[in-house]
Amino acid sequence: MSAAAELARQQALLNALRRTTPTGLPVAAVALRGRVALQPADRLAGLQAYRANAQAIAERALSAAYPVLARLVGDETMAALAHDLWRDHPPTRGDLAWFGAELADQLMAIPELADVPYLADVARLEWAVHRAHTAADPHDEQPDLQALASEDPDALCVRFVDGSACAASTWPMLTIWRTHQVPADAEPDLGPAREALAAGQGEAAWVWRRGHRVDVAALTPAECAFNQDLLAGEALGPALASVSARHPEFSFEQWLLRALRDGWLAGLQTLNPKT
């Protein structure tokens, strides 16, 4: 047996386990004859054991990353979502904390969920929170902002603390998320979320790390637009011009006060620094 044969063997088993049609595993059990040293029924039982474990792992990983969504849709729906996501976007890393990044897009592609369009945005917010949990710890000291006074804003980029993310929705995504920040055995008060949904209220949220904690706060539309530009790597000057054009009420001074007070900033970076 060569390394190539080992590769073919491993491909054959994973391929078998990825067959998700009703006939998939029974057919795979037959196809693996000559490779697997068991009777057909035992081959099938073995495949089913691995499949069941994969499903359980996928459900656990998804529910850990999306606890609010799990409460919103229930265990059975989460199990079905985990099944489909495993089929369509299988893990590529041995750390399952990375499994499930595509869930929001997957939700949007399900026509039956058109009546609950906010689910995908809640999922996006949850994924941002999930990823922020393992981001690098922010430094305790205040960021050095001296360059604001001396450098051309067109050549100055704002660096947020690691794990920072912006989520925007035409639905009250943040209110729904906050409503569900209660212990697992407590019933959330859905009143505020229902009112916000009835009002058709869109929301934006900022996710960032404060110490070991992940914080989530509401952003105004102007702050959201500005932060998104900065997160995308836009220099301060163009980002300011853009937000001012779209949101004349935006005040950079007020934004800066808030950013400093809440610990959003890691520092500044000068593009093409003078030599």
Binding site: R93, G94, A135
Partner: protein
């Protein structure tokens, strides 16, 4: 002249430290010889979990047990995974580092990303598989600058062309790479039960007898689920009697080895876990 019999060396016993018990362990600080965590749960640049691990290290030796390296994968190791593990080892300074004799990473025909099966899929016990495992174990050890323990798994399928006995495979792997064996007694019993042998305890004990005693660096004990067509290694209950029986035999043959109570699903109250650890200490005497 009188001689004093040497005092028996106690068996170090630890527990798997899982998220629902993070706080309770640190608040109660029960007497344990070590704790073990899943490496991948701490693949992070920062955050609360990593901070808790740092806190735990102040009170207990920590061993890192991985489930995702996929050492037997013909597609090779994931450099990202190895980077994460190396960073964690550097940070946590564990007493032991381990993973499994299994595969998971597969480059599917037709291209695309290498997939990870996220399971402990069964390797073949062939020379080619031994070559792969040996090379990957050495790669990990060179990166981590320390020996690795490799665990025997529960396998729900066996390959037609297996021609090495499993203990023979591990003996050869250890000789070749310098790694040790993480002997999972529960997995031995699960495999014996699933093979339908007449005496699963005797079968598992024979496995223990066939292994080079010097390579066993740690022992795992766990519960299994025998309610379905196959016995499943689910780590979701107390250790079953046959596993205790094989463990007693292993202790008699091998002498004291660090022993872990693993419990990963349907986690019980913390005291149940501690009670299982005390039982392991008793059985090992």
């Amino acid at each position: 002249m009188t001689t004093t019999a040497p005092r028996p060396v106690p068996t170090p016993v630890g527990i798997g430290w899982r998220q629902p018990h993070y706080r309770e362990l640190l608040e109660r600080r029960p007497e344990l010889d070590f704790i073990e965590v899943h490496s991948e749960n701490f693949f992070a640049e920062g955050g609360a979990a990593l901070a808790l691990l740092g806190e735990a290290r102040e009170h207990y030796p920590v061993s890192l047990h991985g489930v995702g390296l996929a050492l037997g994968s013909a597609a090779g190791l994931d450099p990202w995974h190895l980077d994460q593990l190396a960073a964690l080892v550097e940070r946590a300074q564990p007493v032991r580092v381990s993973d499994h004799a299994s595969f998971a990473r597969v480059a599917m025909p037709g291209g695309g990303p290498v997939l990870h099966g996220s399971d402990l899929l069964p390797i073949a016990f062939t020379d080619a598989s031994l070559d792969l495992m040996g090379a990957h174990v050495q790669q990990v050890q060179e990166r981590l600058k320390r020996p690795l323990l490799v665990e025997n798994i529960s396998a729900y399928l066996r390959w037609e062309d297996d021609h090495l006995a499993e203990p023979e495979f591990f003996n050869a792997l250890a000789r070749r790479s310098g790694c040790g064996l993480l002997l999972d007694v529960n997995n031995l019993v699960v495999n014996s039960l699933n093979r339908g042998v007449a005496d699963p305890v005797a079968d598992a004990c024979a496995w223990v007898d066939a292994i080079d005693a010097g390579i066993v660096g740690e022992i795992h004990l766990a519960g299994y689920n025998d309610e379905g067509p196959l016995v499943i290694d689910d780590h979701g209950s107390t250790v079953h009697l046959p596993v205790w029986q094989v463990y007693r035999h292993a202790m008699q043959r091998l002498g004291p080895r660090p022993t872990l109570i693993e419990w990963d699903t349907n986690l019980p109250p913390f005291d149940v876990l501690l009670s299982e650890a005390r039982r392991a200490q008793e059985v090992a005497k």
